[in-house]
Symmetry: C2
Subunit: 334 residues, 2 copies
Amino acid sequence: MVKITDVARHAGVSPSTVSYALSGKRPISEETRQRIEDSIRELGYRPHAGARALASSRSNVLALVVPLRAGIHVPVVMQFAVSVVTTARRHDHDVLLLTQEEGEDGLRRVADTALVDALIVMDVQLHDRRLPLLRALDRPSVLIGFPAEPDGLTCIDLDFQAAGEVCVEHLAGLGHRVIALVGSPPEVYVRETGFAQRVVRGFTAAADRHGLSSSVHPCEAEPAAARQVAEQLLRERPALTGVVVHNEPIVEPLIDAFEQLGLRVPGDLSVTAICPDELAGRVPVPVTSVAIPSDEVGAGAVELLMKKLGGAAAPEATLLPPRLTVRESTGRRP
Amino acid sequence: MVKITDVARHAGVSPSTVSYALSGKRPISEETRQRIEDSIRELGYRPHAGARALASSRSNVLALVVPLRAGIHVPVVMQFAVSVVTTARRHDHDVLLLTQEEGEDGLRRVADTALVDALIVMDVQLHDRRLPLLRALDRPSVLIGFPAEPDGLTCIDLDFQAAGEVCVEHLAGLGHRVIALVGSPPEVYVRETGFAQRVVRGFTAAADRHGLSSSVHPCEAEPAAARQVAEQLLRERPALTGVVVHNEPIVEPLIDAFEQLGLRVPGDLSVTAICPDELAGRVPVPVTSVAIPSDEVGAGAVELLMKKLGGAAAPEATLLPPRLTVRESTGRRP
DNA sequence: AGATAGTGTCGAAGCGCTTCGACGGGGAAG
DNA sequence: CTTCCCCGTCGAAGCGCTTCGACACTATCT
């Protein structure tokens, strides 16, 4: 293994000079720097991560805690993780993967052993058990999602409430008067995952504001459940002409179900969804939707952490504004 | 921060004794060990990962390289990653997440900086560019999937060839004489990803062996493409009664398409798939399938690495035997 | 009884890097 | 012509842990 002293000798300088040339923490003459860089390339030098971490008390590793529970759309998680890794690399950091399963102990472990410099926690619940720990930890963290009390924490997510509102406003603008929200599985609401409830709040508030008749329907992430909800809606709310779906796996099955029940989309019924663009675009009837910007959330989370690691203050709440893309599933009220 | 010298002082022993008590690399009297453990608990001691890595030249971290390309079923990747993390933790290791995107440089970087002790590489292609590097690296690695020349490498995967065979044998046993394989998207074959071609090989060999008439049809992972293939099959091979699907996203759409074209499953047509059990079980007609055992592959990969890290030899090839689960989509030839 | 072999513990020497204080030399300011 | 300061570099002191050799003891064998 080639080490910093080898490089120093080869370049005719002291080890500390090599270190400073690499970190830029002290000025080094252009000429010396060049010589050092040549030596590094020639010898194939790579600083030892452990030694670096020990001496600098920075590991340049971020922890990412991913959820693995029911009701969470896996591709979104994956996309998010990839975006975190990519952004972290751009800041010369790596990403350690933790599962929810490890729980609080896992967080404490990687923080206390100085394995990681900072943490990103996904799937935060309204009353998440990890919050006190994250507040107490001596390393910065960023949460994806909003707990009930975000004080002292840094959170980022799509503004789901605004997303719900935007969908309703789009429908209201097209003249619809009777609308419904087909939401996530009941357990998602029961365990109080903030984002699902925020959608409901936005949906309801906007509907009330516009004087629309609205209703909310949780739904399992199964085609069969989607069909049941569709039947129930036709039965109980025959005047319905607008639907907002917040449940990735059933966007397509639900539309199918409506069509099989004789409703044309968007002819008889307008449908909008809150889901990844990629999903919205590649179904038989491309769906007007508010995107879930996993990329931006992931990148944003890393940027926030970098800011905190740099000693700067980060805003407590970062809400990404919803962006509605009009596709073919919505039209004027028939 | 509490360090090993603090623990030593508190327990009235020397730091090295604490270290040996922790690692078990030298015998420590029961009494002393107890005293040390008490001190550790009382002080809340956690060894510093970097210091440990530096002194022992072991980071206790594994690298996991995940693919992010088209034609790869995301939930399988995720499930696999979770299984790797879980198993690694059981061996007191953590997992660093790398994306394919980083390529060979990424592998070299984490290996050369001693950030990780070993590597797991997913989505290996027949002529993968990373193979020479993996062979040359001074740390052990395990590949998920089989390249054309596995010499000197350690590989693990489902035995896809046998999986193809098992499906055919199941159909042959039910009396079917004309069968088809609906496969992965064309680009998967073009870029020579081993597993897809192995399925074809197993499928074809078994069909020939049983004197069946067989054909192979690559298919994009889109419902529309599935429908096209279904129509084409009805047109060109009207005597068809058995189908093997190796393409997760279209298992359900393909069956739908057949049924909409007037074929009952399994009444007129038997369908088997090679896909995760979870998918096979939760479609309208539960599908007879060979499972993709992500859990076992992930766990197996980690176990192999641990063996290699322990200095033991690991087999070059580990092929997990296919397991066929009979569900409702297959029956005797009409 | 003396030699032999374990046991259980300690001290010291690193592992490879960063960082702090120091210092020589040149230019600007007085 | 001093004095002061900044630039570029060096040496040395750690960062917190593991590990090697040594050593004192007890147990076992002749």
